[in-house]
Subunit: 340 residues, 2 copies
């Protein structure tokens, strides 16, 4: 169907080997021939088959990326960061969403193994040990981002969620709040655990106790769950004066829930999110949040995979774990309690 290397060779009056070398810029071929072959190839619209090339070189020039959900703005920005590094380096991306579902995971991993991707970036998703073992057995380098089980993987990029959780909580404490609640999302594992730990540490350091009901768990990270959380807090005998949310999506829903109940933010209740997704700057009031460097995290993960592919096996054996820091972003959704 498509034009092959042999078609080009025939037209150029050389062996297909010469075309192969010319296209790849081998020094074995004279500059004049290289130039001529390339020109003819371009004229004919020749594009080397990655499949055939992959068969010989064991390199597919493709990376796999697994995210929990593709329509989550947090992952979208990470994907953007990954692509910014992968594309200029000549790598294409197989992107798939696990939907936090084991069957999906199985299908995805099978497909990535079948296509012999050169590496996989696993993005903040609960991921079964079985599937990660499959990848390891296939010899596919794996880099994880913010994954729940820190210990298991050798190559990781983490955001310092403990630090972030502490900074957000400290900010609320310093504003004078004494009843600070937390909305958590247990299914995200490590990420939530660390933000929660940071929250507890700062609460403890400030001598504040956490009454039962002030740590609330949701089943998803969409705004709808934030609404549910608002109802919960409003049903308490005395609602908290500030709420720290696992992420911005929840905070967005919480804001709405509080406002629908007639509370003013931040006067009646302060709200803080996490991640700094684009929309957090446009809520009413604009959301105080923790700016996690999403694009940079994605880019770093991509750089790490590429480094593993370049490096020799010896270097690859050495675990490489990188932790990145974000920064607190104070906007208008937090203020001193009871303020006018």
């Amino acid at each position: 169907m498509a034009i092959t290397i042999k078609d080009v060779a025939r037209k150029a009056g050389v062996a297909h080997t010469t075309v192969s070398r010319a296209m790849r810029g081998s020094t074995l071929i004279s500059p004049a021939t290289t130039e001529r072959v390339r020109r003819i190839a371009t004229e004919m619209g020749y594009q080397p088959s990655a499949a055939a090339s992959s068969l010989k070189t064991n390199r597919s020039q493709a990376l796999g990326v697994i995210v929990s959900a593709i329509d989550d703005p947090f992952f979208s920005e990470i994907l953007q960061g990954i692509e910014e590094i992968a594309q200029p380096n000549g790598y294409s991306l197989f992107i798939a969403a696990s939907q936090r579902d084991l069957d999906h995971e199985r299908v995805i991993v099978r497909s990535m193994r079948a296509h012999r991707v050169d590496g996989v970036i696993l993005c903040s998703t609960p991921f079964s040990a079985e599937q990660s073992k499959q990848l390891r057995l296939s010899g596919i380098p794996l880099v994880v981002i913010n994954n729940q089980s820190a210990e298991e993987y050798r190559h990781s990029i983490y955001h310092d969620d403990l630090d972030g959780g502490r900074q957000v909580t400290r900010h609320l404490v310093e504003l004078g709040h004494r009843r600070i609640a937390y909305i958590g999302y247990a299914r995200s594992g490590r990420t939530n655990a660390n933000r929660l730990a940071g929250y507890r540490q700062e609460m403890h350091a400030a001598g504040l106790s956490i009454p039962p009901g002030d740590e609330f768990e949701v089943e998803a990270t969409d705004p709808a769950s934030g609404l549910l959380a608002a109802r919960h807090f409003l049903s308490l005998p005395t609602p908290p004066s500030a709420v720290f949310c696992y992420n911005d999506m929840l905070a967005v829903g919480l804001l709405r829930g509080l406002q629908e109940a007639g509370l003013r933010v931040p006067q009646d209740c302060s709200v803080a999110g996490f991640d700094n997704i684009t929309f957090s700057a446009y809520t009413t009031p604009p959301l105080t949040t923790f700016d996690q460097p999403k694009r940079f995290i994605g880019a770093e993960a991509a750089r790490l995979v590429l480094a593993l592919l370049d490096g020799d096996e010896a270097r690859e054996k050495r675990p490489r774990i990188r932790t990145l820091q974000g920064s607190l972003l104070v906007r208008a959704s937090t203020a001193a309690p009871g303020g006018s």
Copy 2:
């Protein structure tokens, strides 16, 4: 490196041909042998090489998806719809973002041609004729979603933006507005042109004129551009009493801009968006918008590509253009003008 079909054949004591047929479920092989071979293959962790298979069958079991930007919530939801169809049908997705940039386009198309994707879904991005010609010459079926140049492509999924633009405008007219402005985004081409046309038609039908300055163009579709538009409208001698925005991202920014200037929405100014992205339900006030069936559009595009791949060439020659309708979603950001 990886386990090959011959390794499995050796272990099973058969020819590699038999393994190939057993894996693919050929009726030539006895059920007993098929069963046994498959069991051994699974035990050994064998995964057929898509590259080798692709070389023989001319099928890569991969689709290319080109979007303008991966972190735009509108595209994210379309991607989700595409994946929901592609994955269960055994297709992987190469996803790439053009960033509305010609160089990126070139790199992306080259990479998709190299990987011999079975089809390409082009998603609402200005796309150069040169690149689309490259795909056509390579014999790669192309399905476009909401693309700017309607005529050029044979297989398309469109949202009825004319109808949507009319419905939104009519809604505002029926509320009693007489100064209705429009924020447009010219770079998106056809999509914007149709929404704008719908707006003008309804304005004309209602006997309303559009004073200069009431049609405003922005350079991007992020909330920041909506902010700019707000400043523009507020600088007019008399600002409009309602604004229809090309999409929700702009509406989100506009809301903020109006509110920062002390205007109340919808009392002082009504705001309507388009697309119904997730967050539009959580703005303050919740945004009136047009619900474009994004996931369904993505799914339909994927179904169309798969149909083209199944169908014979004859059927493929016949253009297939499908137009999908959305529905108006009235929330709290629109009301009669001058209301309390």
